[in-house]
Symmetry: C2
Subunit: 220 residues, 2 copies
Amino acid sequence: MVLEDNAKRARSEDQKAERQAGILAAAREIIDESGFDGVTMSGLAKRAGLAKGTLYLYVRSKEELFLLLFLEAMDEVVDRFKANAKLGDSAAHLAHLMTENALTTPLFLPLFARLVAVIEANVADEPLFTAKRRLLALGHEWSMHLAYVTGVGPDQVEALARTLMMAMQGAAQFDISAQRDPEGLPDDMREAFGAYAFAPSFEPSARLILEAVMAPALEG
Amino acid sequence: MVLEDNAKRARSEDQKAERQAGILAAAREIIDESGFDGVTMSGLAKRAGLAKGTLYLYVRSKEELFLLLFLEAMDEVVDRFKANAKLGDSAAHLAHLMTENALTTPLFLPLFARLVAVIEANVADEPLFTAKRRLLALGHEWSMHLAYVTGVGPDQVEALARTLMMAMQGAAQFDISAQRDPEGLPDDMREAFGAYAFAPSFEPSARLILEAVMAPALEG
DNA sequence: TTAATTAAATGACCGACGGTCAGTTATCAA
DNA sequence: TTGATAACTGACCGTCGGTCATTTAATTAA
């Protein structure tokens, strides 16, 4: 289980998994420091203490790397939702939980925003299918818990979950613009960029959507 | 107004505008044939009958080109909504109109999906601000007409418009995956990709959102 | 008509990047 | 100790977006 720091080569499966984890950690560091465009495979190799060729033994492409990071983040979001959302929570509270979960899970929002147009567009088929299956399973888990806490029937929850996911995708997109440093922005642009931050965009929308579906569910 | 086909150089402003229009047209052709990744500046120059350097006299970067294309598409979407949505239309009908407008305006959805993560990320500040101002103005026009046809008050329409735009962004993202040729997809993936096409994703969500906001507006 | 001026057009060139592969060498089993 | 395995390396490649010194068409001045 423990890999020697000075170990030169990863032979066992455990060691290989640790190598990959090290690569993902190095990628997270670079993203924190220089954003997604700051990630280059040469730079990543250097940061992870490997040659560039070695990187490709553990990650098939740059986009697959991002996909792996997103899977981890999505996993965390679903786990937290299952742990925190309780039966009987109000629409407002659920909307708040979803917002907080998404916002405070590192890299979730920026990766979600880039998932389709940037990441999926450049991943080979096989790893894409693998990831997609995992994402669908996670989405299903999330939907099931949502049905449980809201009391929405299994026939309606899929539409509800899809609508919420769509809103979250859109809000994640807007949030990229909102994250821009206001320094150097013209005055009229400052508002235009900042007004679309994730929380004030998503939370009221999620609440509206949840209330619209939960109201009849409670009556019926 | 009429530019000679064999005109070698664009001197007047009209001629320059026509050159740029020709470049945009060539870009549309390439996108139709080979998708967005098929657009390279060398290939575009060849298609437009120009040297690569000349391209950069009319478009400051590849992403600014896409931004210009999106502005045209957005313009068309807003125009069509203003022309087609009438006072008294039901939520279901409005949702249908929005869906059709988005779906049948060439390039609108794929460009919308790429707008933030791909396009904005790589456009210089000045052209970005110019485009953003135009987009905000168009969004405002759209909102005003939406307020008029739904009877939603001016204090609420901004939130409504934002929620709808978020859902449309998300649906546009999903639609990219859904557009993938099912050929060669594993059976279980075929459903997963196809199920998220734009119309069946967006239209019911838009209807739900519109009904939630229009119901109290009609009562009050 | 000709010469001087302007600026549109050109394409060879550059740097950066993602990805590859023939060769090297650490590790382990015999 | 030796041979086999496969983890590792980094020089190299092709592509692409973007630049700029130079060319040349079009316009203006002489």
